[in-house]
């Protein structure tokens, strides 16, 4: 903590922050670098001591750890435990870290050895069932999205530095989609998980005429049973809905609870 700024006359510490990546595309971290117009302000909030995409130096002395990616290897589990030991605050950055992300799609297959052979052929690597980081260590804060929305990360980091309470939207994507006055994707005949997915993305995909794939996971109390009826009424197949619910892993809990309808019997067969 050095040369802190002040807010309303009160000194605000500038925490030492490290970014880590497990199995992921590192696109969430790239999102943060992409925000050129506010990048300097963002950097003034914290002292970044490790950020592979943006600097050569790498320190192991940090207070906040942002972890992107899911756990797919044993050594990643060990790395996570070390990070947890060092960091006061561990933040799961993006859908891979929060839910397993796109990576966890492979979990739908029974035979992971077959998957490894199919993908890597005669160059096998050590890979196991995909897990969110919360399956290995305690996580203090989750930032959803594939990729994360940089404005949201900035808001959350500001609150984190100020020591304020951080709340995620309790409403689904529809709320923000309506505020942007989009044509409902269902009116265009497209499936959309907007009604059950946590908002906060400003209806990023629907505003570009692409139905929501649920990357931010379910809104609390998501009415998935009704969405299933809505999809069926509109002739959208169960498989199409399943594809979306499975894509990022956020709905894994719901899918598991629907054994026989959407459950393992359906999802794990090839």
């Amino acid at each position: 903590m050095k040369e802190g700024k002040t807010f309303l006359g009160v000194p605000v510490a500038r925490p030492r922050v490290a970014f880590f990546e497990l199995s992921s595309c590192e696109g969430c971290q790239l999102q943060l670098l992409n925000n050129e117009s506010t990048l300097l302000d963002f950097l003034s909030l914290m002292e970044i001591v490790r950020f592979r995409e943006g600097m050569k130096e790498a320190s192991d002395d940090y207070e906040i750890a942002f972890v992107e990616g899911s756990v797919t290897r044993k050594d990643e589990e060990e790395r996570l435990k070390v990070i947890r030991k060092q960091a006061k605050v561990v933040v799961a950055l993006g859908s891979c870290a929060c839910f397993g992300g796109v990576n966890q799609l492979k979990n739908r297959f029974h035979d992971l050895a077959w998957v490894t052979k199919e993908v890597y052929g005669s160059f096998p690597i050590d890979t196991q069932e995909v897990k969110p980081i919360s399956a290995i260590i305690e996580v203090d804060l989750e930032i959803y999205g594939c990729p994360v929305k940089k404005e949201e990360v900035e808001r959350i980091v500001t609150l984190l530095v100020l020591g304020e309470e951080i709340q995620h939207p309790q409403y689904p994507v529809c709320m923000e989609c309506k505020a942007r006055e989009n044509i409902c994707l269902f009116d265009l005949g497209e499936p959309c998980l907007g009604p059950v997915t946590r908002g906060g993305c400003d209806a990023w995909c629907p505003s570009n005429r692409m139905g929501c794939w649920g990357c931010r996971g379910p809104v609390p109390e998501a009415n998935l049973d009704q969405l299933r009826i809505i999809m069926a009424e509109r002739g959208i197949s169960r498989e199409q809905m399943l594809d979306r619910l499975e894509c990022f892993g956020g709905f894994a809990g719901y899918l598991a609870s629907q054994d026989g309808i959407f459950g393992k019997k359906d999802t794990k067969e090839e």
Partner: protein, 346 residues
């Protein structure tokens, strides 16, 4: 009230006279998967973009007087101190060209709450102050139930109201500005034959309503049926997504969030239109949620519109525009909900 008539072709000139100011009207937004045209309100620069024959817009015109998000105030932090700045906005005049009666009545109702109370909403007042409203008659759609809500015609709240007859517009003139505006175009007093045609058009329109809501003794019935099981059935369907409130022309409830800029030099207090159907609408400090169940939230939306507001203002807050039912993916419509609650009475 004064009445005037002018040939349909003169409307273009009327538009041109007003064009020095910002005109908002119904425009074509796109088509749905079945080729049905979808409309919304937007700024209109070219007369040919104005679709006065629109059925109903997806969203109300709310964003022009109750924006989905608006800054209530901003703060500047300096030398350990702070300064607050308030900008009520809305200084530019706004012309609504082609509002239906339901939406004019929605504004009249909002005026009662947001201007008439002890604490008028300055932001709304500023947006309302320089508004000029040209109303336009409509063709009732199968989902329209404004007639049941008594909002199928507007008796005030507009400057000019146009009813299209064969070849002419029959204009109701309510303001001096509208009167002088008509001096710019080829316009005259209607004759008795045109009076007859106007009344005939009204009668024809009246006969076209399909959807109805029985509002007789509704406040009492809602009180009697507060525990009716039918609320739970609607609650099971409800997605708690807030869509109904977002498209509603009279839903004015909101939440407030405070934001601090990353440079700690500025902050702002932002208002965001919210919906009583959203999970945390009735969450309070300490974490208690007074309406954790979907059906209790849905019920309260109906109680606000059809009971609480009636008690306070002797009229419903619902204008029967049907937008909520049209936008609800779960197919929850006001006529069906009210009918089902009435039926609970055995």
């Amino acid at each position: 009230m004064l009445f005037k008539v002018f040939p349909v072709c003169e409307l273009n000139r009327l538009f041109a006279v007003l064009q020095s100011e910002r005109i908002v009207g119904p425009v074509k937004k796109g088509e749905d998967q079945h080729g049905r045209i979808l409309y919304d309100f937007d700024v209109v620069r070219d007369f040919s973009d104005l679709h006065l024959d629109f059925t109903q817009t997806i969203h109300s015109a709310k964003k022009y007087f109750l924006p989905y998000r608006e800054n209530l105030c901003t703060f500047t932090f300096k030398d350990g101190d702070w300064q607050k700045e308030v900008d009520y906005g809305g200084s530019a005049p706004l012309i609504f060209f082609g509002l239906h009666s339901c939406d004019i009545n929605a504004l009249n109702k909002l005026d009662k709450v947001l201007l008439g109370g002890r604490y008028p909403n300055s932001f709304y007042a500023k947006n309302r102050a320089k508004m000029f409203i040209v109303g336009h008659s409509c063709t009732p759609q199968p989902f329209c139930f404004c007639k049941s809500m008594g909002t199928d015609s507007a008796i005030h709240g507009f400057d000019l109201f146009l009813t299209r007859l064969d070849g002419i517009y029959f204009a109701e003139v309510l303001s001096a500005r509208a009167f002088h505006l008509l001096e710019n175009i080829d316009c005259r007093d209607p004759d008795s034959e045109e009076h007859r045609r106007y009344l005939e058009a009204i009668a024809t329109r009246e006969s076209m309503f399909v959807a109805h809501v029985d509002t007789s003794d509704l406040t009492k019935i809602l009180d009697l049926e507060f525990q009716a099981p039918v609320w739970k059935e609607w609650g099971e369907r409800c997605l708690s997504c807030g869509t109904c409130a977002q498209v509603c022309p009279t839903c004015y409830c909101y939440g407030v969030e405070e934001h601090v800029d990353m440079n700690f030099a500025h902050g702002r207090k932002e208002k965001m239109l919210y919906s009583c159907n959203l999970l945390d609408f009735a969450s309070v400090a300490g974490g208690h949620n007074f309406r954790p169940e979907s059906h209790t939230r849905l019920k309260y939306r109906y109680y606000h519109k059809h009971r609480g507001f009636v008690e306070a203002f002797e009229e419903s807050l619902c204008v029967g525009c049907g937008r909520c039912g049209q936008s609800c993916l779960a197919g929850i419509t006001v006529p069906e909900v009210i009918a089902s609650v009435r039926a609970s009475k055995e």
